[in-house]
């Protein structure tokens, strides 16, 4: 049966080739590549940082995917990623779950975000306080006229539950549940796109998403000034001072979690992010460099000198 014989031989050759290819590529992965996964707020920022880093050190390859902070943290717990980007601190339950699997999550703070509340440019409402924002997202206010706008139903955009920003916003602003009518968008960029087209829209996005490559605010949207309560005046997250000092009520550090104190290539990359060059890049991307207090936290972990 020469035909069958040939089939078996070619099959065997194919199999050997396949296994060699897989084992080779696996080694390649172990040696040089860093896997980063998680926060959608951070994904473009870290992408940019890694591009610059890889240009300097071409033998390092960094693969970044988004999917939300929850997705990144789940991947870290399941040892499927080296770094988990997260726009919120890990929950206690997650830390316990990680420890049960022998994973030791270490929180590194590498950038500052002033979570922006954005509306359509044509909306006359330019400033709100936190309570008003909370009422809109909780569904207690459903018409813009209640907060000094035109008689128009609000059209509210948020993220999905796997988003760190979804959790951060719920826990710090709403302190309750989102209204079911809030649209759960797949990514931050989708919120920006939807708000640009929707005259009654309000949504929350990381500050890096409201500026384009030239550093100008994206057309058709307005970044609201935000006050912590009815008695204070609203401040803009576009002024770095407001975010750094915490005067802007939604200033928050952005995290990267590693399994144990990072070493080798991963440590070098994190150190690059925290270096002057890295922090300058972060500012160029629309986010803000971390304050000395956050830097002190990173130093206490032993990541930087």
């Amino acid at each position: 049966m020469p035909y069958n014989f040939r089939l078996i031989i070619s099959g065997a050759i194919f199999f050997v080739m396949l296994t060699t290819m897989i084992s080779c590529s696996k080694k390649e992965v172990d040696k040089h590549s860093i896997q980063i996964k998680g926060s959608d707020t951070e994904v473009n920022l870290v992408q940019r940082l890694s591009e610059v880093y890889m240009e300097k050190l071409p033998d390092v390859s960094i693969a970044i995917t988004g999917g939300g902070s929850g997705t990144g943290i789940a991947a870290l717990i399941n040892r499927q990623t080296d770094i988990a980007n997260s726009s919120r601190p890990m929950k206690n339950a997650e830390i316990e779950q990680a420890k049960a699997k022998g994973v030791e999550p270490v929180p590194i703070m590498f950038a500052l975000d002033g979570l922006a509340i954005i509306t359509h440019e044509s909306l006359p409402v330019k400033s709100l306080n936190l309570d008003e924002v909370a009422s809109i997202f909780k569904g207690e206010i459903t018409n813009w006229s209640k907060v000094g706008g035109p008689d128009m139903e609000t059209s509210v955009y948020g993220r999905q539950s796997n988003s760190g920003t979804f959790v951060y916003f719920r826990d710090t602003v709403l302190k309750g549940d989102y209204a079911p009518s809030v649209r759960r968008m797949n990514g931050t960029a989708q919120i920006v796109e939807a708000v640009r087209k929707d005259k009654a829209a309000i949504g929350y996005v990381g500050i890096g998403y409201v500026v384009n490559e030239e550093g100008n605010i994206i057309s058709d949207i307005n970044v609201l000034n935000l006050a912590s309560d009815a008695n204070t005046t609203g401040v803009s997250p576009l002024e770095s001072e407001n975010v750094k000092s915490g005067k802007y009520p939604l200033s928050r550090p952005l995290f990267q979690y590693t399994n144990g104190i990072p070493t080798g290539k991963i440590l070098e990359f994190v150190q690059f992010e925290l270096s002057d060059e890295g922090q300058k890049l972060i500012e160029k991307e629309g986010y803000y460099p971390i304050t000395s207090r956050h830097m002190e936290h990173n130093r206490s972990l032993g990541i930087i000198k």
Binding site: G67, G68, G70, T71, A74, A93, E94, Q97, M152, E153, S155, Q160, S161, N162, V167, R170, D171, L174, K175, G176, D177, A179, P180, S181, V182, R183, R184, M185, N186, E193, A194, K197, D198, K199, A200, A201
Partner: protein
């Protein structure tokens, strides 16, 4: 001699294995869904699961697991898509078989088949950048991410199924029927509406059922364009979140072994049963139509 007999048997066995593998896989999937899904009822009452409209497993306070709004959302986009796709699909099928010349047929048929090959994510993209803004403009809404948008896109996606199966059914109507109708003095339109389509109706119903089956399980498109607001829908202008979208969104982040995890499997089980029953109906109707033809 013996070797040949053995070979015969081995080949026989091999094909038997391939044939039953589909059954094994189907049963395996169903049991996996069922056994995981059923564990949810330890923490959630069946009544709350089926009749509560609030699905909020990641609540700030007490989580709730009611699937009514998402079942309604799924049913709503299906009905919407069929309102659009059924007349369009049957009309196209009737045109191809009864009216169009052979050249038009040659051009039209492959184009409709290509329509089935467009990836759902591309159709979703179309929904975001084109259909959504259009709906907002036409109906004077602020946003076009709603049930209508999903219905339109699902209609587009189920059209190829409906057209090609209805077309087969209409083609299978015996020539005698039509000739008898013409002999009685009926024109082409009357013959088509009164004779051909009624004669092919079981095949057409089967095509609609398979179209629904296609639409029920569709995930990416509805996820992208329906706005994903987990509220109880009141009209086609509301943002909705279907069962498939909920599963796709939440399975990525849910911690293993929690109530939320099992609840997602329970939603999957219900979705599976819904699409299974649609397929069984299609199968039954087709069986009837086959037996009638003989």
């Amino acid at each position: 001699m013996k070797l040949i007999k053995f070979k015969e048997k081995a080949i026989h066995f091999f094909f038997f294995l391939t044939a039953i593998s589909a059954i094994v896989i189907l049963l395996g999937i169903f049991l996996m869904l069922l056994f995981n899904g059923i564990k949810m009822f330890k923490d959630v009452s069946a009544f709350d699961f089926f009749f509560s409209t609030v699905w909020n497993p990641t609540a700030y306070g007490e989580p709730s697991y009611g699937i009514l709004s998402m079942v309604m959302s799924t049913v709503m986009v299906i009905i919407g898509s069929m309102i659009i796709a059924v007349p369009l699909g049957i009309g196209t099928a009737a045109y191809i078989t009864e009216v169009a010349g052979p050249r038009t047929q040659e051009i039209l048929k492959p184009i409709i088949e290509i329509l089935a090959a467009i990836p759902s994510v591309v159709i979703g993209f179309l929904g975001i950048i084109f259909v959504g803004p259009l709906i907002a403009k036409v109906f004077n809404l602020t946003s076009g991410l709603n049930a209508i948008n999903g219905s339109i896109l699902l209609a587009v996606m189920s059209l190829p199924t409906i057209i090609s199966i209805s077309e087969d059914a209409i083609r299978a109507v015996p020539k005698d029927y039509k000739e008898a109708s013409y002999a009685l003095g009926a024109n082409r339109w009357t013959t088509l509406i009164r004779v051909t389509i009624p004669a092919a109706i079981s095949g057409i119903v089967a095509s609609i059922m398979l179209g629904i089956g296609r639409a029920i399980g569709e995930t990416m498109t509805v996820l992208m364009v329906t706005g994903n607001a987990p509220a109880m829908p009141h009209s086609f202008f509301d943002s909705i979140r279907t069962m498939t979208a909920t599963i796709a969104i939440e399975l990525g982040e849910v911690p293993y072994g929690t109530t939320h995890y099992y609840a997602i499997f329970a939603v999957g089980t219900i979705l599976f049963l819904m699409s299974l029953s649609v397929n069984i109906i299609a199968e039954l109707v087709t069986a009837r139509y086959r037996s009638r033809r003989i």
